[in-house]
Symmetry: C3
Subunit: 138 residues, 3 copies
Amino acid sequence: MKSYRKELWFKTKRRRELVNITSDINVALIESGIKDGLLLCNAMHITSSIFVNDDESGLHKDFEKWLETLAPEKPYSQYKHNGFEDNADAHLKRTIMGREVVIAVTDGKLDFGPWEQIFYGEFDGMRKKRVLVKIIGE
Amino acid sequence: MKSYRKELWFKTKRRRELVNITSDINVALIESGIKDGLLLCNAMHITSSIFVNDDESGLHKDFEKWLETLAPEKPYSQYKHNGFEDNADAHLKRTIMGREVVIAVTDGKLDFGPWEQIFYGEFDGMRKKRVLVKIIGE
Amino acid sequence: MKSYRKELWFKTKRRRELVNITSDINVALIESGIKDGLLLCNAMHITSSIFVNDDESGLHKDFEKWLETLAPEKPYSQYKHNGFEDNADAHLKRTIMGREVVIAVTDGKLDFGPWEQIFYGEFDGMRKKRVLVKIIGE
């Protein structure tokens, strides 16, 4: 069994941002030399997400509006977590969007359907945060 | 390490449908010959889901009503994604229900609790769509 | 490839509870002797969750209030599942919070960011329920 590990670092300009990281993950997979197995990609912070969806700007605006409806940022005082913090909404938004994805690796490639793209979802940005890529296989 | 890959194809009659695929996954597991490891099952499309829950028709009606409350299909114009498309709600519903499940394989079986069943959740159906099964282990 | 399997049992005192199980998972990882690979931890019941988030009591109260907003327990009659059951809301809450997490194992440790902790989320408690830990690697 071969194994590979890599960290990706992000510092977004805005509090919330969706970043397409598919090409970064493809680079990691090539570096690993693994042709067949499973790839785990997860946020290492609890106010950000990794998820698979479509790279379409309209949809990304829909996600922003929708998440604000389900778990609004303000007023900050609505959340008990927001004593010294102001990011309770980011914990909830990340819960909706998910911590991680597991992706099949076949013939040295991400075994994806036609529109699958991997995104880093930042919900409490403007500081350095990490994503883990772990691949096991042969 | 052994590895196995299979695609399952679906074309539902309605826009939204929940399909119990547990027996299909059991067949794939037997075909693989893998006795111990991990099984990944994921939708290959971004408007459908794979999830584990109960095979109970009342609950499935509750899911339908609940998802329509959280991410309603209509009016289509409420979503920026719906220019040439009408399926923005399906992207959001799939986000709630999840893209994938990872299931332990032990003694050649899905290592499940008493009521766990695997479902394909279709939220933009009436066309051919795929699900991936990938198993690694020994 | 090495493999390890363990069940954890829970019986919470209240219907809904969030239990930090990170130390239990660390014990399982040490018992496994696996230094590098993937760890799957999943609820074996369909009305409970495994998820990664912050061990902060204010946030946990926010989760309770938020989940009650998105999928309220009462009135029971609002759900078709609640004929002989009263736990339809627990199926929905578990869907939001997730069934499972997959965690990288590196150098014999959970490969976690600074605040990541693993929780058992019980949404229909006061009875014995199980969680599965499955680790594969070397």
